[in-house]
Symmetry: C2
Subunit: 451 residues, 2 copies
């Protein structure tokens, strides 16, 4: 079904046909189908979807569409949807809606859910507590497998996942048992015999990126969230961890390009938000580049003597910047994947030293032959001599080594002092390396060319 067909059928009031089609569709696809539909059509189509599917579809919609629907819905309709939604989705919804809609939502929640949601909203942003849901199956250690299966049958339909069940005793989490264990064990076995007591759990205040990394590391479907007493207060499921991991990579990539990260998809981000996310960094980097200007001014004499020297400035700066970026971005990613720690500092430095020597030498030799054979012999570039070529290539080699050194050390040091290493990527490294490469260049020029 395409949007055009849907709109056509809506206009012809073919509600039976629409209902038949919509109610076999996956909620994710439904949300995509209804995307950008005008509010009245949206509401009309949405009302044709079965309750449970509708609630799930609703939680996959963009905030502006959710808002449009909530503004059209009666209180009874809002109640119905909220009753079918998981708490983590309701929390997401509340965080995205304007104040008046938030009040309507809160008014239509039953008292228990409202209390639970208020607790979740108090957890720090980006904490495990803020992304958890409270619908999970809890079991008692003295239950048998068949008791447990019966409980799942009774309450399971409203739980976000029943595949990991949590065994509690006076609120404390004492074990975990999977649906697989339950389904493949004898029905009279005790849960306490079956449960895994070496529990993977996260605390409510754990950073959500750490939580996502645990999913990645252990390949689990859900993780319990516990308070300081090891009482279970909720669970995080793998689909939310997936989202956190993707968002995290997006944020790192943005920071590496000197852009303030932003949750909104590109096409939904306004021009001013994009501007605001970029201009501070551009200004900061532009002002930092003033230093390179001073360096050039202070070597005015050398440059006036030979424009040939000036011609190599961009190439030297770019190559230095690229070399540094390669090292820094590689190290930043390895840090964020937990592949290197601060204790690896010297191993990383030694490795990058060898790599940079190889790169620097290769580039210098290649460039020397290029200048000699192309620029001098073939093009007869005026004022260009083999001594200038030597200065350029020596600078190149030294710059590459320094650039890779700075590129690999800054992110590790940044992380050590609690800074975000991702910021120490191309733009910053480039600015620093530019200044250094110019100083190296002019000093070699003065020494070797006597200017």
């Amino acid at each position: 079904m395409t949007q055009t067909i849907l709109l056509d059928l809506l206009e012809k009031k073919e509600f039976k046909a629409i209902r038949a089609v919509l109610n076999v569709m996956n909620p994710v696809d439904l949300a995509a189908l209804l995307k950008d539909l005008p509010a009245p059509d949206l509401a009309m189509a949405f009302r044709l979807i079965d309750k449970e599917r509708a609630a799930e579809t609703f939680s996959y919609m963009d905030p502006d569409q959710q808002e449009a629907l909530l503004n059209i819905f009666t209180n009874a309709e809002i109640k119905d949807i909220l009753a079918e939604m998981y708490t983590d989705d309701t929390v997401d919804l509340l965080e995205d809606m304007p104040a008046n809609v938030v009040n309507r939502i809160l008014d239509n929640l039953d008292r228990d859910t409202r209390r639970v949601i208020n607790t979740i909203l108090r957890y720090p942003e980006d904490s495990a507590g803020s992304i958890m849901t409270t619908e999970y199956v809890d079991l008692r250690p003295n239950m048998t497998v068949s008791d447990a299966l019966q409980k799942i049958r009774r309450v399971g339909i409203d739980k976000e996942t029943i595949y990991t069940c949590y065994v509690t005793q006076s609120g404390k989490l004492i074990g975990v048992v999977t649906a697989k264990d339950l389904l493949t064990s004898d029905s009279d076995r005790k849960i306490s015999d079956l449960m895994e007591t070496n529990i993977l759990a996260v605390s409510t205040n754990e950073d959500k990126e750490q939580v996502a990394e645990m999913f990645n590391k252990y390949g689990v479907i859900a993780l319990p969230v516990v308070d300081s007493e090891f009482c279970i207060v909720g669970i995080v499921t793998f689909d939310d961890a997936f989202e956190v991991l993707t968002d995290e990579a997006t944020e790192d990539i943005a920071k590496m390009a000197a852009v303030t990260p932003n949750d909104t998809p590109y096409l939904k981000t306004g021009v001013f938000s994009l501007f605001a996310a970029r201009i501070p960094w551009l200004l900061l980097l532009m002002i930092s580049a003033t230093v390179t200007g001073w360096i050039i001014t202070s070597f005015e004499k050398a440059l006036a003597a030979s424009v040939a020297l000036t011609a190599f400035i961009p190439m030297l700066m770019d190559t230095g910047g690229n070399s540094g970026s390669q090292a820094s971005v590689t190290v930043i990613r390895a840090l964020s994947l937990g592949q290197i720690q601060f204790s690896d500092f010297f191993r990383v430095m030694r490795k990058e030293l060898f790599v940079s020597l190889l790169c620097g030498l290769t580039l210098a030799v290649a460039n020397f032959f290029k200048i000699w054979l192309v620029d001098i012999s073939l093009l007869h570039t005026s004022g260009l001599t083999l001594s200038i070529a030597a200065v350029v290539c020596l600078t190149l080699a030294v710059t590459v080594v320094i650039a890779k050194f700075i590129g690999c050390t800054l992110p590790i040091l940044a992380k050590k002092v609690g800074f975000d290493p991702a910021v120490m990527a191309s733009p910053f490294i480039t600015t620093i390396v530019d200044a250094i490469s110019l100083v190296v260049y002019f000093n070699f020029a003065s020494a070797m060319l006597g200017i």
Copy 2:
């Protein structure tokens, strides 16, 4: 348990204690504990782990440790481990081992598994077929819920996931039923009444990144892999999709920094591999930067007349490069998350045009005041005039607009013609923008300063 304690206990032959501790540990943590242990100790400790846990631990180990163990193991031991491993892990193992070890593994596989694995190995690298596993539960449509639960109880223990079961009829996949449906439905209901027939599936040749994106989009635990006849040949589970997503982000990040991506963790990558992944790009970009040299040489006269002009070259190049990178990296990530398509080309261009005008104007104004108040009034930089400031700031504004235009269009165009958009990031954009900014600069200088 730490490695030191483990080695100590091994030396004291406290096997009972070691066995007790190891057999409550999570296989992921076990693999981490055994990491980098000398081969004889590794084998000794490994032999104390229970069969099933040992096999899982084995699949989480680094290839060099797996190889060490396989070289020590008897054929009987290898058979035991392989019998407990899922086919996707066995395939990974075969891909990582040298030829002689591969032969020993193949010799110790039972005939059916060997046949299955040979089929998987024939699927293209990076395809869904190459990452799938063949251990899944299949049901028949005429079974009842209790038949299905019985089947799961019988065969489930050897299946990678039992939480999604596949309903087949003469090999064809006709429906999907979740363990949750089975557990929460009446035991005499027919599977055919219960199953979801609107099936999410991937074909064997589907790119694994597309498969991972489907997990991300639909939040499912597993996806069936089907052949051209819609017969199910295997499943991909969410933990493998997790890995693909992380690897994909790592690859994109590497490409954005002009590094050839590489699967090996940083500290395990040799100096020559790092060198080989970086030097081709550095050489290519260095040679491309030759163009900027020519541009400078051709404006020799203007530069000789005023070193003040030269002093602004690095700042102009850097700011242009940074502006372009911001746009390109933002667009590359949005492309890879599926947030923008080729059809959004003009929307993206219009958005970036407005953003770049705002950025360009802000930077130009800020820079003009900085040159006027600091460089001229305060520092009395020789040869620097307000007309030069005007040339610099006009160039800045124009360069930023051009840079963002190039930055946002190149990745989209690259994707359209089947290139990897991630390559169109900072390094390439910078090289192109450098040349353009110099041409703009010198032309403004000639026109406005009459040189």
